[in-house]
Amino acid sequence: MTALLEIKGLSKSFSVKGKTFEALREVNLSVGEKEFICILGPSGCGKTTLLRIMAGLERPTSGEVTLDGVPIEGPGPQRGMVFQEYSLFPWRTILDNVSFGLELQGVSKAERHEKARRYIQAVGLAGFENSFPHELSGGMKQRVAIVRALVNNPRALFMDEPFGALDAQTRNVMQSELLRIWQEQQKTVVFVTHSVDEAIYLADRVVIMSARPGQINKIIDVDLPRPRIRTSAEVNRYRERILSDLKILRNG
């Protein structure tokens, strides 16, 4: 597997009221093309910060992230992002939300709407093209947010606890759907989550981070064929292993 994303010696400090706070220290990670990475770790360990730096929304204090060997200087349509909060533009219809990226690229209205329609259909939201975001449920909104990022055909997709606000049922459905999209579109995905089950179900590799300062503690290969059975013995073995790793982190 060739590396698409390289995170090299990445550190990030915030200064708040004259005091500096080290959010990330010396993070190194290389993410392969078409790889699905999940990041797990206690609250405040810098998962969001890491993702925001990769997306170009935050500048690192030192170190760098490269995409195809090119350092990331700022945000761009090559790297899509799905936020934890609902981020659809409330003043745009679903169709216009999804076609936003294409509109910026100057794609004609007919063409971008046609493409957006296909994506909206693909995630089962046909019929909602002219609805506004407030008319959709949480799961539907996140689905739209995902296809809104995918329409740009990005090299990598970063997702920050995108299903955190959803109920367990919807969450499972969304996970399967995401895997389907990932397999179809062959994207590189970096996915932050709090749920060990979610990580094992989705990831090729699970990155476990520790807090204060935020560091990568362990990387676990999830060597299971897909589709994975959530309740299988192998999945349980992985779950126990990861949970005990996390417990050690928590107890210091």
Binding site: P75, F83, S87, F89, F132, N152
Partner: protein, 264 residues
């Protein structure tokens, strides 16, 4: 609720409105008859006959002139307030530059500008328009400023990762639509103030010798109080009409996306 019930509900609501207005007219007429002094309270019937005498002048002269004042003031207000409010809300430097100027001029009541308006523009519609402008510019400016300053960061960042990296695109696609409800509210307030300023400016004669406010004052000096009353009613109804039209156009069309958000 089925459509029939809703229709019935609607009809009943309208009926209540009509009845309450009719009740007011009846009470007014009776009061006028009891007081029996047309100077103190002209009767409803004499105001109606005044309308028959006067409607052409109202429509073709006074209303037209007042609307010209309104249009001059509101247009100038929008042209100044929108860009300045936007710049102040979006850029910290522009905020620093304009803030002291705005804060110094804003507390001056618009009517205090009447002498200078007359000196600068003479007795022209522009003079009254200027007073309207002074009244309208600040509510629009302040609301645009607030709207552009409180654009939620999540939308800006979403747009950036989707490829909107130029400031221009962020303003056009994110900041402006996000600020629009606040701007619209500012314009609505401004129109109310503009309407008051028109009357005062015209009463002071800061224009050609016409306009709803000018004529109202003229008839007062002639002690023709049923005419005064008539012009008051025209002013009230017109203000209501402008406000409702604006609300309809803006809220039903441009801000349709807000509906559910306000309810939730």
């Amino acid at each position: 609720m089925n459509p029939f019930e809703r229709g019935w509900e609607g009809a009943r609501e309208h009926a209540v409105t009509v009845l309450s207005v009719a009740g007011l007219v009846v009470v007014w007429q009776i009061l006028a008859m009891i007081i029996a002094n047309p100077l103190k309270l002209p009767a409803f019937t004499s105001v109606i006959s005044a309308l028959f005498i006067q409607w052409e002048t109202i429509l073709w002269v006074d209303l037209r002139v007042s609307l010209i004042h309104f249009a001059i003031g509101m247009t100038a207000g929008l042209l100044i307030a929108l860009p300045v409010g936007m710049a102040m809300g979006w850029s910290r430097i522009a905020d620093r530059i304009f803030d002291p100027i705005v804060e110094l001029i804003r507390p001056i009541p618009p009517l205090a500008w009447i002498p200078f308006a007359i000196i600068w523009f003479g007795l022209t519609p522009q003079a009254a328009g200027f007073i309207v402008f002074v009244g309208a510019v600040f509510p629009i400016l302040i609301n645009s400023y607030v709207g552009f300053r409180s654009v939620p960061r999540i939308y800006v960042e979403s747009a950036m990762v989707l490829g909107a990296t130029r400031n221009r695109d962020l303003l056009r696609y994110v900041a402006f639509p996000s600020a629009l409800p606040s701007i619209a509210a500012g314009i609505r307030i401004a129109m109310g103030i503009a309407w008051m300023c028109i009357v005062a400016a015209e009463m002071f004669g800061a224009s050609t010798r016409s306009g709803l406010g000018y004529r109202l004052w003229e008839y007062y000096s002639l002690h023709m109080m049923e005419m005064v009353f008539l012009y008051m009613i025209v002013l009230g109804l017109l203000g209501l009409f402008i406000d409702r039209t604006f609300r309809f156009v803006v809220q039903e069309r441009l801000l349709r996306w807000q509906e559910g958000i306000r309810q939730n």
